[in-house]
Amino acid sequence: MMQPDELARTATQLGENQAIFTWQHPLPENAELSLAQAQDLERSQDRLRAEFASDDASIAKAFRCLRACLAGNGQVNFGSFLPSIVLQTSETVAAIRGPVELLSQAALLVALAVVASAGVSLVARRATESTFLATHGTTPFAFALRSGVEAVVPAVVGTALGTVTALAVVETWGPGKVDPGARAEAVFRGAAALPAGLLLIGVAAGVAFFRRSEVGLRRLRTLASVPWEIGALLAAAYCFKRIVEGAALVPAQAGGVSRPSIFLLVFPIAAIAGFGGAAARGMRALMRLLSKKADRAPMALYLATRRVGGARRLAVSLVTSCVLAFGVLIYTQVLVSSLSTTVDAKSHLFVGSDLKAEVAEGVDLSQDGLGIPATRITRIPESVQLSGSEQDVDLLLIDPVTFAATAYWHDSFAGSALEPITAALGPAVKGVVPVVVVGDERRDLTMEASGTVVPLQVVANAASFPGVTESGPALVMAREAAESLTAANGANPLSSFVDQNEVWFKGGLDDINEAVADAGLILTLPVTADEVANLPSIATVVRTFRYLSGLGAGAGALAIVAMVFYLQAQQRSRTVAYALSRRMGLSRLKHMTAVIVELEWLVLGAFAAAALLGLVAAWVVLPHIEPLPAIPPEVLFTPPIRTGVVLGLGVALTGVAIGATVSRVSDRADFAGVLRAGG
């Protein structure tokens, strides 16, 4: 290490006329760079680069001197991988931030709903106290203030526990270690949310208290007679209008990665809540009708239908909450499943199979030879014209023997499996070439290539086809048929076009690499379907709804917990009636069955309504969030049937367990004490 001028002297003396000067920026002591640190480093590099290019910077002067010393032939090359790494990381972060921000907004909505519900339930559970205070002139404001103050300790404990738990989850399961700045921000946000939550509890309790008062009855009677579902449905209609107008996805600020907008979140919530509330009321009315016909039903069913038919507003609200929570879960699950299937289809259609690459001619691509399915494709873009159109369409030449086993296929592409379609492709028969027409529904076609008209036999019309990535029509024929085409001059009418050859491989990346290595093949320009599917712009959308489905599951669990509390409160209020019923001959088993049936009516009814509403909401939204719209196929609506069945079974079994537990609690009630307390 020496001073630059000394180096120059030394190099000259040694007769060296070139030198490479390398500067290394000092790295931070810890080996890991955060994105912020990397961006700082990048800015340092930019400053250095600017100094090299400037006339006045001392380092630029030093280099000019050096160049002069070195016979004026010095060059300054500045290279770094840092900018591309920072860009890639920024895109990845943006792809994560988008869904996380939306999830954060959704979680905030859920938290607000839970906190508001706590305020309302506080009034409901302490109905006697609320009525007493209202009777003796307590104002809603005073009650709200009291409720807020009472909630301070549980709110502080809950906020602290929630913050600590969230940080621990991220530290444990990733996506990475918690940034010190993020930790501080999390604590700050928790502390800032605390007074907001207390205020909301107070307001909700105050409003609920006001509604119970005679003034509330007077003032709100007209308003209360208007179903709230109408407001929810109007909100849903507005959000859907915005979605249809193109506001479903919004570009994020960094990296150009789009993410789902708030409308995609509010629309299902408002729609499912609105229709769910109506469904809950409808279920109660249906139960009332059924209960009239259940006179001869077994005792458990008799009691259960009457209890559900006579359910009060609180029960209807709880059922609506269950419909909402389950509905959001199903909505997000359907979107995740459909988007994943669609992205998978698009990426595989784009690539043709799991991997495509250029491979030298003459290679044995049979499965026996290679060990994995593979097929060779020749693409002749914009080479032929179909009858009735002047548009040039792509021609895809395939090997029917190996194509079906290798190519990606979904029966919805052509309404049938791929094997019979490719089996129908082959050499021309009496000059008629069997083809698959993609993107055109006509059956009676000819094609023209270089002035030669070739009659076609359309064996299938497909909306999408592997390897066909343009939205316009395309033709698929057997390579053999294309090679046998002859123009009037005896030449092949396709020979004047430039073709692109590629080989498709099917299998996991490791299996493909192993097979290729064993066969001694060299792949050029390999592209995998996974690379296409994992583009940040696509991954963001799928990841968002995957996170939201987690939130939906959490909300569903909360709704079930609320149902448990409701059942417990119901059982407490029925203690005397139950005690007398036992004396009249109601067995523990019948009572337990009645409780379970009552709960199952509520939760399974909610689940069924939620499934229907979630499916419909996802179905109407999907076309507006189609990833990679330029690449076929159109979005594939793929409800996760198996997940839905498992979820439904889980809900049913949970209902049984809860009903049995609550029923057993009733059996342990101190009947004598309850009766004594009344007199």
Partner: protein, 484 residues
């Protein structure tokens, strides 16, 4: 007619309740006046509109149409803040159910302080005097759930009075009090009347009616009589189509008013032999029963009388089999062990325990359904509903009926399967005089059919007409005497 300006009045007052299955006209154009420094009794059968009138006077509900004026304030038009102030300073309300008058986590003393604070500390009587007068001075540090029903009622009154309202509105405040406690309460009311407090009391209690300065008779949502002179309650045949049937003697079967001949020394169906029972109420140990011995004969109506806290309910609970005595034995004539079914022992507790999800008819028929004898008892259900004036209410749910109607429905349910023993805790507590008679007739009819009816009651008139009267005090039987 009132010569002085009334403290409160209502004019053309109408209140209609709409539920999902019923349309109830609780008040149909009521006109009434409440004089200052007076006691006004509002008298009428169950479901006549008494409680609704009281709630409107206290500003706790909104009228459909009409006017309510209290001390110059038009409650139907006043601003919400003013209405709250009226409820804080001017009008006190005592709920019918004792438990509704408290905040669960405040002691009796804390309730009085809370209410006094709302009245800016002005109180006509000191808290100690109030509690002393009501006989619950030793309960000031207890929580509401640690008090008996009667004690709760008295504490509720003390709480309301501690805020020194000008008008106290009370819904059947003596319904669950023994005669001594009721008497003490009425004395307090009389004292406070002389200090300028006005009382409006919905009641079936003849003592309250007698001490009242004015009486408002209400039936089917209309005032039928309003007088300041004491007069006998009138009975008239009224249109029963609205479901609030007034008890008529011909509802009872003829045999119900007569004793049947029975052997004097019939084998008791149950013998209680020196039973004692203690339980904990908070930190306090209560000696509920102390070596109690009784015999219950079949086909009798036996009254169990005594002040609140004397052990009546505990004795009923032990006979029902819901708890075991700490000492002594309960022996049944058939040597039954374990919990006896509804055909053996039927129960009518103070908390009636009707199933809200069932209609009145379905509640009455419920034991037969569980007993799988519904087909056999259809006629009996109809007979009991008719006997107890519930036919027109049969398709309503309990919450759509009055407390008195619920009580009669629970009695009908208890009598449905003709039990050997009926345990009834205050079966006439929420009945007007007419329906108290109706309840007694139903019990007598059941006894004539072989049922032993053990009735815990504060109703001295009813007790006197029973075959036997067991008097209890401080957990012990003081006397067993024959009734009239």
């Amino acid at each position: 007619m009132q010569e002085a300006e009334p403290l409160a009045y209502v004019k053309d007052l109408v209140k209609t309740y709409r539920t999902e299955s019923a349309h109830v006209e609780a008040l149909r154009g009521v006109n009434a006046e409440i004089a200052a420094a007076s006691v006004t009794a509002v008298i009428g059968p169950s479901g006549s509109g008494k409680s609704t009138l009281l709630r409107l006077l206290a500003g706790l509900d909104t009228a459909s149409t009409g006017t309510v004026v209290v001390d110059g304030h038009v409650l139907t038009d006043v601003a919400p803040a003013a209405l709250r102030r009226i409820r804080q300073d001017l009008v006190g309300y005592v709920f019918q159910r004792p438990g509704d008058n408290f905040i669960a986590h405040l002691t009796v003393a804390e309730h009085l302080e809370l209410m006094a604070k709302r009245a800016d500390g002005k109180s006509r009587l000191s808290h100690a005097d109030l509690l002393q007068h009501l006989g619950i001075a030793g309960r000031s540090q207890h929580y509401p759930h640690q008090l008996s029903g009667g004690e709760q009622q008295r504490a509720a009154f003390a709480s309301v009075l501690s805020s020194s309202p000008r008008l106290v509105v009370a819904d059947e405040p003596t319904a669950e009090l023994d005669s001594a406690s009721g008497h003490a309460l009425l004395e307090l009311i009389a004292d406070l009347r002389s200090l300028g407090v006005s009382f409006v009391i919905a009641t079936h209690d003849s003592k309250v009616a007698e001490m009242a300065d004015h009486r408002i008779h209400i039936d089917h949502g209309l005032v039928t009589d309003q007088t300041g002179k004491p007069h006998a309650s009138q009975r008239r045949k009224l249109d029963v189509q609205r479901g609030n049937a007034l008890y008529q003697p011909q509802h009872a079967t003829q045999r119900a008013t007569q004793h049947t001949e029975r052997p004097r020394r019939a084998t008791p169906i149950v013998t209680v032999d020196e039973i004692s029972k203690r339980y904990r109420r908070g930190s306090e140990e209560v000696h509920a029963l102390d070596r109690v011995s009784v015999e219950l004969q079949p086909a009798t109506v036996t009254a169990l009388v005594g002040p609140s806290g004397s052990g009546k309910t505990t004795l009923l609970s032990l006979l029902a089999g819901w708890e075991e005595p700490d000492a002594g034995q309960i022996r049944w004539d058939r040597g039954s062990h374990g919990i006896l079914g509804w055909r053996e022992v039927a129960i009518l507790p103070q908390k009636h325990g009707l199933l809200e999800e069932l209609t009145i008819r379905e509640n009455v028929a419920y034991p037969a359904r569980l007993d799988r004898s519904t087909a056999n008892e259809v006629q009996r259900v109809d007979d009991l509903l008719d006997e107890l004036g519930l036919t027109e209410l049969a398709d309503r749910h309990p919450s759509q009926t009055s407390t008195g109607q619920q009580q009669r429905a629970a009695l009908a349910r208890g009598l449905l399967l003709r039990p050997r023993l009926l345990l009834a805790d205050e079966p006439s507590g929420h009945q007007d005089k007419g329906w108290a008679e109706g309840v007694f007739c139903a019990l007598r009819a059941a006894a004539n059919s072989g049922t032993c009816c053990l009735v815990a009651t504060h109703n001295e008139e009813l007790a006197a007409r029973c075959d036997e009267v067991i008097s209890m005090r401080d957990g012990a039987v003081r006397s067993v005497s024959a009734g009239l």
